[in-house]
């Protein structure tokens, strides 16, 4: 059943438009002068606690990331520093972008058995769906690095291998606000 949306009827005054225009302009003008006052005050070193704009001045200033935000992948480590990943290929299988390629190898410890000798994610293909994280039975892959900048001048540069993915797991959270609770 379709939802019926009640249309709000405009009053005569609103329909005349002129008054509404004036009110609108009053609102924007208010913002203009308030913000301008703050800008000028800050120019003279006053009103440091106020901001004239909601903008983040990107490279210098960074926006706090939501804790659930999916960012650059990392592979977690065991206590001894080896990758947790057991090369089960659940992530490779579930990945809708087919951007993960894993080559499994025989681990000397028969209790671990299997580990990835190669683990490549082609971030140029990745759609950041997070399915790989969901699928992993070992909590071996996460997308909580808070790193959003990983551009490259070549396609090959977008392919992150095992070492690059593991490199992030020592210092996973450069941004305090994006801190993820670890169990």
């Amino acid at each position: 059943m379709a939802i019926k949306v009640e249309e709000k009827q405009l009053t005569l005054l609103e329909r005349l438009y002129v008054l509404e225009v004036v009110r609108g302009i009053a609102l924007t003008t208010g913002h203009f002068f308030r913000n301008m006052a703050v800008h000028i005050a800050r120019l003279f070193g006053l009103a440091k606690d106020k901001k004239g704009s909601t903008t983040f001045q990107y490279p210098e200033e960074r926006r706090p990331l939501a804790p659930r935000l999916r960012t650059l992948h990392r592979l977690t480590r065991r206590e001894d520093g080896a990758p947790r990943c057991v090369a089960c290929m659940m992530c490779e299988t579930v990945c809708p972008a087919h951007c993960i390629s894993i080559v499994a190898g025989e681990h000397p410890n028969p209790l671990i058995e299997k580990y990835p000798t190669r683990f490549d994610i082609d971030l140029g293909l990745c759609v950041f769906c997070g399915y790989c994280v969901e699928a992993c039975p070992e909590d071996a892959i996460r997308m909580d690095t808070g790193v959003l900048e990983f551009t490259s001048f070549s396609r090959e540069g977008m392919v992150y291998d095992l070492n690059k993915l593991l490199a992030r797991s020592e210092t996973p959270k450069p941004n305090e606000e994006s801190k993820v609770k670890t169990a």
Partner: protein, 526 residues
Amino acid sequence: MPTLTIDGQEVTVDAGTTVIQAAEQIGINIPRYCYHPGLSLAGRCRMCLVEIETFPNLQIACYTRAQDEMVVSTTSERVLSARQSMLEFLLSNHPLDCPVCDQSGECDLQNFYMDHGQYQSRFLENKVKKKKAFPIGPHVILDQERCILCTRCVRFTEEVSKSNELGVFNRGSRSVIDLYPTKSLDNPYSGNVIDICPVGALTEREFRFKCRVWYLASQESICTGCSRGCNISLDYNGSRRAYKAGGRRVMRIKPRYNPDINKWWICDEGRFGYGFIDTDRIETPMQRTTSDLEPSDWDPALARVAETVKAAYSEKGANGVGVIVSPQLSNEELLACRELFVEKMKLTNVAALNPWEEPGEADDFLRNADRNPNTKGVEDLGYSGDAKAVLEKAAEGEIEVLIIFRHNLADGEAGKLLEKAKFVVYVGTNWNATAERAHVVLPGATHAEKDGTFTNFEGRVQRFKQALLPIGDSRNDSQIISEMAAKLGYSLPASADEIFEAWKGISLDELSGSGSSVDPDTAVQA
């Protein structure tokens, strides 16, 4: 002939049939682990319990004979709850390491648990630890923790391979499958225990960690290891991009049930002998220009062959050209060769068999000494004489051009004769000494890359189907012959289907849905 009712369906079966078989006849698949149609009954796993009216207790369907007026239920409350409990029991000591298990994806524990699982674990005790992941033979790895002690593998070594390497040791929850002391699972049929193991306890060493099974696609084929012609499935990398599997395409071979030839089994040689499909292949036509073989194209290579053949033909007539076809070729390719070389060109020096070939091992089960899949086909199609006579003539210089299919004739006595041949054309799939010494090399396709039939030693014409595209620039041999014929001024069909139809009067698809055996005489009448 008892008539019984299973889940409301009536079925009449032969006397002595078990309930599990009777149910199968009407398409009801009762879950089972220990029961295998090719092995004796063990009744160990209790997974196939069914409810039969007038019996107070649930009965195992694999052991109970069908009787008149039996009323069987495979889906009653009691049956379902029994299956759930059995699974809970079987899994109580299971390590649940599906992520690292190669069986994952085709494991009966996973499959049945999806239908009859309890999902909420009630197990509080510690699991019994057993020995994990150790090789018990050249091809097989055993993980005792994953084993559910169905004893299929033990029964196989007792009854089928009759080599008695495996047994059950210890008691209760500590029972394990293991080798008898001093033994190793190295019988020529050891790979079959991998197939029959319903869980991931016995896995393949060759296939280990190479590929997850859900990436595999499968095609029906025929083993080319010997003249038995066992039915197989070629499992190849299907949905996974090839580069992720190191460029390898065929990942493993599994037996395909054929009651008349190999039943459920194949030998290890056939099972693991697929490496040649992806390694050391001749990928482009080659020509010897000055002294080296250099990559070339089909057109110039074939043109050169045709020119040389024509020159020899006009100089020495039908004696000037020699051809050695191979029992590795399919019937259709042999037919094409016969048509071109024997019927059209009327060559006198056409041979097929290699007298120097070393016979393989043979036994009274599957393996034959003749290691070619189509020797019978060669004979049936009227090829006679062996390579020796032809080679000798080539060495004497009587034969100007020698065309060799598949055979490696560069060793020993044959090699000495081949040395002296004036112009050698090699049509083959893999590099060998003969190819390296040839003047023109034409790359052919393996059985995984083409359609066709082989005739096994009993005279059964069996179909194999194309799974892959020919590697690199290589081509189906019947196409090569057809193009060579065109350059020589004849016209021959190129597709295996056409040739087969002209031969037998039925299309390849009619021969068999599955490549199962057909007596050649019946096929002609069909």
